[in-house]
Amino acid sequence: MRQNPSNRFLHWLEIVPSIAWILIALLIVFCLITPHFATLDNLFNLIRQGAVLTIVATGMVVAITSGGIDLSVGALIGLTGTVIGFTINRGLSWPLAMVVGVLVCSLAGLISGLIISKGRIFPFVVTFGMLFIARSIGLGLSQGGSIHIAGQAFSMIGSGYFLYLPIPFWVTLVAALIVLFFLKRTVFGRYIFSIGSDANSASWMGIKVDLIRVLVYVLSGTLAGVAGVVMASRVNTGNALIGQGTEFFAIASVVIGGTPITGGRGSLAGAVLGSFVITVLQNGLTLLGLSSQLTSAIVGIALMLGVIFAQLVYRGGLRGK
């Protein structure tokens, strides 16, 4: 059976996440049909564009694995920038302002997490509410518009280089590695899987379900804050509306990366690759001269195809055994 070439092919399809094949196919297609795609400039551009989504997606995969979801992350990205702008303009040094910006998002996550676990309210509803709260605070701080962030140093995070690579790359890498470690090597990571498959049983096993839930949303919020720092630094502006919709692209990244929306299982690598697919699609299609509306539709189609493809491979693999 194993020698059968079609089976071996299926076997390969199975062990390499389907999303990786989609990414490879996309890269090949864009290299062939878009002259400016395969340039170093564009690669760095891709990294800067994609960093925000990838960082948020690493938080989203944790929330979804735990059986929840975090819809507030897009609004938190905007909030971070306005908090940084607001505090710098009032004389705070930029590193401190950055920390405050991230901590505000951690606090938002903490509040969401507490309401979810203590109030026994669906994460969907709570984080949806937090989305509006965060956005309106952001709009309040920026007086309804955007705040220019003064100073060269802060913008270095978005536009600078470290070891020949854009700083957002390093930020993303560190964030992803921390989440990977958190999920795979710490007890909290284990508990997140356990809670996601059945919160009741998890509590019967002696797991402190409430505490873990709170941690999940603190983590997700904090990562949204980090993404917000990268975003604000890239555009040198605090704008409450800037991250709008990122939550949905993050959910899409997680889902096409092979993580079921129902919880209990999750692939961080899949989510990261998923965010790459979306970033590459957006970038490549824009380079091709497609309008942003059309780009969105194509991303939507890719989301569905990605999930269908993953399902086919899964079923095919089962039959192959």
Partner: protein, 506 residues
């Protein structure tokens, strides 16, 4: 003297659920090195009692002494600290974590308090599984294991705490005979080491194999505690049910008519091969086989749930073209699945909605559902099948297993099914309700319904069937008439003895 060895002493335990007194002044104790069996019908309070001891449920009144000291077991962690370990009835492992990760979840070998020492965890899991003679790879995902293996992993997890008290709630319900024996061997060893074991089971024959004492619960009250060696099975059944069951299987011979439902050469690769099977009107046909023999899969194809590769299904001699569930229901075939919670009922719907669910087209031809009519129909079946429920609006979720099974039956009676396929209709159901369901099967057969019962219980299949088909590894290995059927013959066919294997090969 015995007092000194008492590890657990529960006194006057009272637990109320909304509308039900789940436990009413129950006393229960466990000594060192003892296997104490808890029996009772569904809803008698067995699981509630052990969940209180395991810190999962809070108690309303009563005292728990552990080694003679009063303890408040507020949460599962506290129970674990006290050396009390539990294997729950429902598997509560995380399917997408590995065996090793599941065994050690909530007490992982750690560095710095929260970083899991993965290698140490794997080593310990490997050692533990080997010491229990369990042939399970610690790095396998739990989702890839059979239900039986999963249950063994849950058992291994309970032992990984090195507990002084182990609670097993229906541990053998999905174990094979070998796996059960393996578990019993371990339990006997633990007993010798002085561990106290609380054992809940519906399989009464098991009690006599391993139990030292038996406590019978009924309707939340403790009826009696007996020494196993001085007790007879009938006594226990009488205590559980509260009345005599003169005969568990009140088979009535009915007049058997013409062919109603027939499978011809039904085949699907890797599932079943050339299945020929006939059920006649007024006949109860048993389909026996070991777990994994392909019985459920075959009947799912016959009902149209899964596609078959070749073969035909005939209804009253007429071939059903392209069988599908909706066509089958329309033609009067009913299917009661093995997993009634997942497949047989909508748990979030009320009792009356569940009953009418398969016959909405017939009942409400206008397309509008009438609540009044639904109520009347539900009342009729509540009366006919003596369904125990406070109201027709009770959600199926809150009904006991036996009542749920009756609702599934009512669903198909309401759809006027003339052919019923019942997959393990009495799994996890208490003795009293079992007998009631057998009586209903008899009554239906008398009215001319053709009934096929898939069962893994030998006494059941012999007790209720007019004819018995036996399946083994996807094939029918034999058919026996009621008069010819003996446990030995059926078992030989089910295990596929040498002759039958040779016969199929040639």
């Amino acid at each position: 003297m015995a007092e000194n060895h008492r590890i657990v002493d529960m006194q006057g335990i009272i637990k109320n659920f909304p509308g039900v007194k789940a436990l009413d002044m129950v006393d229960f104790d466990l000594s060192k090195g003892e296997i104490h069996v808890l029996v009772g019908e569904n809803g008698a309070g067995k699981s509630t009692l052990v969940k209180i001891l395991a810190g999962v449920l809070p108690l309303d009144h009563g005292t728990i002494l552990i080694d003679g000291t009063p303890e408040r077991i507020a949460n599962p962690s506290r129970a674990q600290q006290l050396g009390i370990s539990i294997v729950f009835q429902e598997s509560n492992l995380s399917p997408y974590l590995t065996v090793a990760q599941n065994i050690f979840i909530s007490h992982e070998p750690c560095r710095a308090g929260f970083v899991v020492d993965v290698r140490e965890e794997e080593r310990q899991a490997h050692e533990l599984l080997r010491s229990l003679s369990m042939d399970i790879n610690p790095n396998e995902l739990v989702a890839n294991l059979s239900l039986g293996k999963q249950q063994l992993v849950a058992f291994a997890r309970a032992l990984s705490f090195n507990p002084r008290v182990i609670i097993l709630d229906e541990p053998t319900s999905s174990l094979t005979a070998q796996e059960t024996e393996l578990m019993f061997t371990t339990l006997r060893k633990l007993k010798k080491e002085g561990v106290g074991i609380i054992y809940i089971s519906h399989r009464l024959e098991e009690l006599f194999q391993i139990g030292d004492r038996i406590t019978v619960l009924r309707d939340g009250k403790r009826i009696d505690t007996l020494l196993t060696k001085n007790t007879e099975l009938n006594t226990i059944i009488r205590m559980m049910v509260g009345r005599d069951i003169s005969e568990m299987y009140p088979k009535e011979i009915t007049e058997i008519g013409k062919e109603a439902f027939r499978l011809e050469k039904v085949t699907r690769k890797g599932v079943c091969k050339d299945i020929d099977l006939t059920v006649r009107t007024g006949e109860v046909v048993g389909l026996f086989g070991l777990v994994g023999a392909g019985r459920t899969e075959t009947m799912r194809m016959a009902f149209g749930l899964d596609a078959m590769e070749s073969g035909s299904i005939f209804l009253y001699g007429e071939k059903i073209k392209h069988p599908s569930p909706s066509k089958s229901v329309g033609l009067g075939i009913g299917f009661s699945p093995e997993d009634r919670k997942q497949e047989g009922l909508c748990l979030a719907l009320s009792l009356k909605e569940n009953i009418a669910r398969a016959s909405l087209d017939q009942l409400f031809r206008s397309g509008f559902v009438s609540g009044k009519k639904e109520n009347e129909i539900a009342q009729k079946y509540i009366h006919d099948l003596s369904i125990a429920t406070p109201s027709v609006d009770r959600l199926a979720l809150y009904l006991s297993g036996g009542t749920q099974q009756k609702v599934v039956l009512a669903q198909w009676l309401c759809a006027k099914s003339s052919i019923l396929i019942l997959d393990e209709p009495t799994r996890g159901i208490d003795v009293g309700t079992k007998a009631e369901i057998y009586r209903m099967i008899n009554q239906l057969a008398q009215k001319g319904t053709a009934i096929l019962v898939i069962s893994s219980e030998l006494p059941e299949v012999m007790g209720i069937s007019d004819r018995i088909y036996v399946m083994c590894r996807g094939e029918i290995t034999g058919m026996l008439d009621r008069a010819d059927a003996t446990p030995e013959k059926i078992a030989a066919l089910a295990f596929g003895t040498q002759e039958t294997i040779n016969a199929t090969k040639s």
